[in-house]
Amino acid sequence: MKWMPRVIGAILLSFSALAMARPATSEPVEIAISCGAVGVELQLCGDAVRAWEAASGHRVRIVSTPNSSTERLALYQQVLAAGASDIDVLQIDVIWPGILAPHLVDLAPHVGDAAGQHFPNLIENDRIDGKLLALPWWTDAGVLYYRRDLLEKHGLAPPATWQEMTEVARAIQRAEREAGNRDLWGFVFQGRAYEGLTCNILEWIDSHGGGNFVGDDGKVTIDNAAARSALALAASWIGDIAPRGVLNYDEEAARGVFQSGNAVFMRNWPYAWALAQGADSPVRGKVGVLALPRGTGEGGKTTGTLGGWHLAVSRYSRHPSEAASLVAFLTSRAQQKIRAIRGAYNPTIPALYEDPEVLAANPFFGQLFDSFQNAVARPSSVTGVHYNRVSSAIWRAGHEILSGNAAADARLAALAVELNRIGRRGRW
């Protein structure tokens, strides 16, 4: 079994030896980076890369990869598992450092103190077993969108807790439907059986003070009173203030309902802001954005799931130090500022949220700052390579509870058992 990859490896090695026969001094080298698919994202990446080429004298080839993160992960895994050097710099999801850890280079020796300028929670996310495996490129966090016009019309204040949001949503939904707006719903979010549901569940539980599934010490914490009441509340939304279809909504399906004016509240990522305010949007000028509500009771706090993309260097890169220097360049303050202004990518450097030019281009960035700073990370660092298994167990349990096929209490207890089995009782 094991000999075959080795034989193939040997064949490949002889090929690569040929390729490496040229002198390995400070000759210009070629770095391959995967960033973006096409369009604005690729263009921004292209411009930044050209700037680095001019500064460093090296060449860069851009490998475009699909936007869908599942497809991107599948591709990376194939390339990395083969030990191939075809991609030097990888654009990775915030939850991947743990999953891809065996294939990534420790950036700390290459990038100096660059890590210090980013949000600390992001850098913590990228540090696995003391190694800095990635640097953050842009960040994201869940926020609450609401229809300012409808709240004003009915004389209701923006909600601060989930309980208040439920009541406001129900009141407006009922009043508007009586007035003939039959398609209106109170709240839409991401309830499909996929990673996005884990993000939503994390927000419900963490905002009630129920933690983030697995503690930093590896202990499974999910079965607690706060988590139970959070999920029971969420389950009560289905069919009441949220349509049943929400159980198959992803980001775009939820945005579609909200943006066509058929929802009072929406949980989504910041990208929806610019689109909801777009020239042709039916809800243009009627939308407000808030940090997600607190849970009622002790330990309630505002929170939002941490999202975004980071840059890492493959262990199989032939030029790791050049690749790392490209990563440092792209994640630098100057480059993030350009991306924030031209593409509305949320910077990972706190100082940029006070930068007048950035704020002029994106006035709502100021409101998002708290969400980014308080954002809660999914337990991807502590669970390492098991993260996707953990997340899938969580979204399956959540999906069952939301569908009404299981009660929150019993299902969470079963989920804790399952997570303990995956994590071998906290040793991971």
Binding site: M4, G39, G256, W269
Partner: protein
């Protein structure tokens, strides 16, 4: 009266089927002219005629080149699988020998693994043969989908042809190759065209291998190129562009069918005369 009613019922049936088959495509055409918030509204007629999505897919990436790549790969796959399939079908369908059934079943067994399970092994093969990042890797790997199917279909058709036609030719001293090309091929045209068409579409639509084995935009095929179309941000689904691209790549296939119409009809008459 009865005849008229029957003709009307037939027309109605055809109309219903056409709507059923084509409505989603019509919907794609409608959506391909939309942008922004309009994609979330239900429309039955185009509100505007706008081809900007079509222009964009060609300007943002080498889409014309991607189509050409797909055409090259698909034609190569079809040619190779038909050639290998026809010769194999001659043996399997016309000659009785030991192990034939087992062989047919083994060929079928190749089609029983989920594609994602084959991916890693195929990836190693592609790299070992030095085909990584080349269109040949796709022609090579698509054989695993198209060969079993082609062999089975051609074998089953080959078997159905009457024995006499072959015997007459053997009396005249024809070798096996002459038999295949002169006798069977003309009779099998409908089957050849159909399997070719089906294999063509398999190669045309394949995504997972095409994504994994090719990393440069200039070498990529159409389904991957469509998956690369993005909106302004991470989550935004550029629906109009994706639909425009899908409509664009479906048209060559329709053209192909219309071209091969003739062949299908020719096969009909050939079969009628000889059969």
């Amino acid at each position: 009266m009865m005849a008229l009613a029957r003709a009307l019922a037939f027309r109605l049936l055809v109309a219903v089927l056409l709507v059923y088959l084509l409505f989603p495509f019509y919907y794609a055409v409608l959506t391909s002219m939309k942008g922004g918030s309009a994609i979330f509204s239900v429309d039955y007629w185009p509100r505007q005629i706008d081809f900007s999505n079509y222009a964009r897919i060609f300007s943002e990436q080498p889409f014309a080149l991607n189509i050409l790549n797909s055409v090259l790969v698909a034609f190569a796959v079809v040619a190779l699988s038909l050639l290998l399939g026809l010769t194999a079908a001659f043996s399997l369908g016309r000659i009785r020998f030991r192990g034939r059934s087992a062989l047919l079943f083994a060929v079928l067994a190749v089609s029983m693994f989920p594609q994602v399970a084959v991916l890693s092994g195929m990836f190693e093969l592609v790299r070992a043969f030095g085909l990584f990042n080349s269109l040949l890797s796709l022609v090579f790997s698509y054989m695993i989908f198209t060969l079993p199917f082609t062999i089975w279909v051609l074998t089953s058709f080959m078997r159905e042809l009457p024995r006499e036609i072959e015997e007459a030719a053997i009396m005249d001293g024809a070798g096996p190759w002459t038999l295949i090309v002169r006798i069977f091929l003309p009779l099998l045209w409908p089957a050849m065209v159909t399997t070719g068409l089906l294999a063509f579409i398999v190669a045309w639509n394949e995504f997972l291998f095409a994504l994994t084995f090719i990393l440069s935009n200039e070498q990529r095929t159409v389904p991957v190129a469509i998956a690369l179309i993005t909106g302004g941000s991470e989550f935004e689904l550029p629906w109009g562009g994706i639909m425009a691209a899908s409509v664009t790549v479906t048209l060559p296939l329709i053209a192909l069918v219309l071209v091969f119409q003739r062949r299908l009809v020719a096969g009909l008459t050939a079969g009628a005369v000889k059969g």
